[in-house]
């Protein structure tokens, strides 16, 4: 299990229960973590787990000038994903009748989402707003289904969703979602306090709901 796990990590994979269950279970063992970490350290990387331990990934051990350039590039692409992923998670929260934040391992029922965006004007508006968030969301098929498919495919491409059952048309959130929440938590603590307070935020949210 060592070799495929290390190769996956080096290729930038987030190893979690949903994407690579065997490697993830193997990595949960402390001894295996150590052996992988020891190997990665030799090539300037280290093994990192997300805050909740739902996913593992490889990070730079030390950051020099070259690594910093790479980090900047990756951070730039992460910044680009924040708005669409937040929008998608919010959409799932609102329209799958579960008022809880999606977490890794939770299912997304495609049919529920499609019914919501087809029947609900607000949901459709939310779906249409993706087109302003990047060219990757522009779809030749302007129907709700076409747009939703495009969004789901992009979430799969970014590694936040995996297909669960083709027959049932369900998808599952991956452990990478933990990583995304880490980013949001950091940005919330370091950039957001000046923008909106909790009370203001809840008022704004309530107003939005009423509207």
């Amino acid at each position: 299990m060592f070799e495929p796990t290390v190769l996956a990590l080096l290729q930038g994979a987030f190893i979690c229960d949903q994407t690579n269950a065997n490697a993830y279970q193997w990595l949960r063992d402390g001894n295996n973590q150590k052996s992988v970490d020891d190997f990665l350290l030799k090539i300037g990387r280290k093994l990192v787990a997300t805050n909740n331990g739902n996913a593992f990934y490889a990070a730079w051990q030390t950051v020099g000038q070259n690594e910093r350039t790479e980090i900047k590039n990756i951070f730039a692409s992460i910044k680009h994903t924040i708005a669409p992923v937040v929008n998608f998670l919010e959409m799932c929260m609102k329209y799958t009748k579960e008022d809880t934040a999606p977490t890794s391992g939770e299912r997304v029922n495609y049919s529920d989402l499609l019914v919501a965006v087809s029947d609900n004007a607000n949901a459709l508006e939310m779906l249409q707003s993706f087109t302003n968030m990047g060219k990757e969301f522009v779809s030749f098929d302007a129907s709700p289904k076409g747009m939703l498919d495009r969004v789901i495919q992009q979430m799969i491409k970014w590694g936040y969703l995996v297909e669960n059952s083709k027959k049932m048309n369900t998808y599952i959130f991956t452990g990478k979602l933990d990583y995304f929440y880490e980013i949001l938590t950091f940005l919330n603590e370091n950039e957001m306090p000046g923008s909106l307070g909790d009370e203001e935020e809840s008022k704004a949210s309530m107003q939005e709901t009423l509207l």
């Binding site: 190769l7 690594e67 910044k79 977490t103 949001l184």
Partner: protein, 408 residues
């Protein structure tokens, strides 16, 4: 004393009208009929019922609240209370059984034995059912409710319930029931097999459930925090669509999530000398596209024979004696300007034309007129006489081969 009598009186009246109270509680109101009107009036006097619109009556608020409280309490303590009662009853039955045994009341003792066995069985079954019920709820993370607030309430309620039962089981496992059953083999076995042997498993499972519930408590709080976080970001992004985070990667200290290593494009090759690579090599071989330029080597090597590929085999053509003679004659003839008679050559070279008749030799040389290009290199003249009948045939008596006009 008088107070006790009053309480009893009230309870008796409530008992007599329990059907009316239950209906009023379940349906929010009750209609007066000829049968129940008298009792309804009585309950109104006791300030348990109050008039509603038209001819209907409802429970007074205080009574409804009391029933709600009692029923909720019953729900909360349902499982724990049941087990508690069962354990107490078991304790009592064991005492009574022992008393009957000491007093030689065999019939009573046998009755109590049956009761104890049934009770032990019932307790073990109830605990197992309870575990199954709680486990399914816990494993589904309380899927029966959807909102996080309700899930948190359910989680807390089941934590209390599991703790109560666990305490009860732990207390029971330290009790002296087992000692008191000593000597009664049948009961000892029942207790041992049905309850005692399973008790440690029950306790462990409840502890596991409690640890899960404790974890969920933490997770639910986290999910709630994440939900708030998402809503906050969503609202913020709706207000400021052009907002992007600052460039935190320029900081001196970087968090782990920022230091994510860029993906490497990896390709690897199996070691052809390593036996463990065999499967991989077979897969590669099977997936190789058919080559258009290289033909498969179709000739089969005979079993047990190695082909020496270094020395390419050369096949030397064996010329017959007659062919060698023709070649020698022709070469000699074309080197002579005046030519060379075939019959003359046959006569002078008998060693080369062993067993070849003169006539056959002339025929053979004559056929060379067709095999070789007569002209600039070679000239072949026939020595002949025409047929006497002038039929066009000629009689060849000799052939003279000489140099062609190019060499003259």
């Amino acid at each position: 004393m008088s107070n006790k009598t009053n309480v009893r009186l009230i309870l008796e009246r409530l008992h007599q009208s329990s059907d009316i109270i239950a209906e009023a509680f379940d349906n929010s109101r009750i209609s007066a009929t000829e049968e129940n009107s008298k009792r309804i009036m009585l309950l109104m006097q006791q300030r348990i019922l109050t008039s509603d619109i038209y001819d209907t009556f409802q429970l007074r608020y205080s009574m409804r609240q009391f029933l709600n409280t009692v029923l909720n309490t019953n729900k909360l303590m349902d499982s724990g209370t049941d087990f508690s009662i069962s354990f107490n009853r078991l304790d009592e039955y064991v005492n009574r059984h022992n008393d009957a045994f000491l007093e030689s009341r065999d019939e009573d003792r046998q009755n109590y034995q049956v009761c104890i066995r049934d009770l032990i069985n019932a307790i073990a079954g109830s605990i197992a059912d309870e575990l199954l019920h709680i486990s399914s709820l816990v494993d589904s993370k309380f899927a029966t409710v959807t909102t996080i607030a309700e899930k948190m309430k359910e989680n807390e309620w089941y934590m209390n319930r599991a703790t109560t039962i666990l305490n009860l089981l732990e207390t029971f496992s330290f009790s002296d029931i087992e000692q008191r059953l000593l000597g009664h083999r049948d009961l000892e076995l029942t207790y041992e097999l049905l309850l005692k042997s399973r008790m440690s498993q029950f306790i462990d499972t409840f502890r596991l459930i409690l640890s899960k519930l404790d974890k969920y408590k933490y997770e639910f709080r986290k999910i709630e925090a994440q939900a708030k976080l998402l809503r906050k970001f969503s609202t913020h992004l709706n207000r400021y669509p052009d907002w992007t985070p600052s460039d935190w990667t320029s900081n001196e200290e970087l968090l782990d999530w920022m230091c994510i290593a860029n993906p490497l494009s990896l390709s690897f090759y199996p070691d052809a000398n390593d036996t463990s690579s065999e499967k991989l090599l077979v897969d590669i071989a099977l997936n190789l596209p058919a080559s258009k330029t290289i033909n498969a080597y179709k000739r089969k090597r005979p079993a047990g024979i190695l082909l020496d590929m270094d020395d390419a085999p050369v096949v030397q053509k064996e010329f017959s004696l007659l062919e060698k003679a023709v070649s020698a004659y022709m070469n000699l003839a074309i080197s002579k300007e005046e030519g060379l008679s075939a019959r003359h050559w046959w006569l002078n070279n008998p060693e080369m034309l062993d067993k070849v008749s003169e006539e056959y030799w002339v025929h053979r040389v004559l056929s060379e007129r067709l095999n070789r290009k007569v002209g600039p290199e070679i000239r072949i003249d026939l020595v002949f006489t025409e047929s006497e009948d002038f039929d066009g045939n000629i009689k060849v008596s000799d052939i003279v081969v000489s140099q062609g006009y190019a060499n003259v």
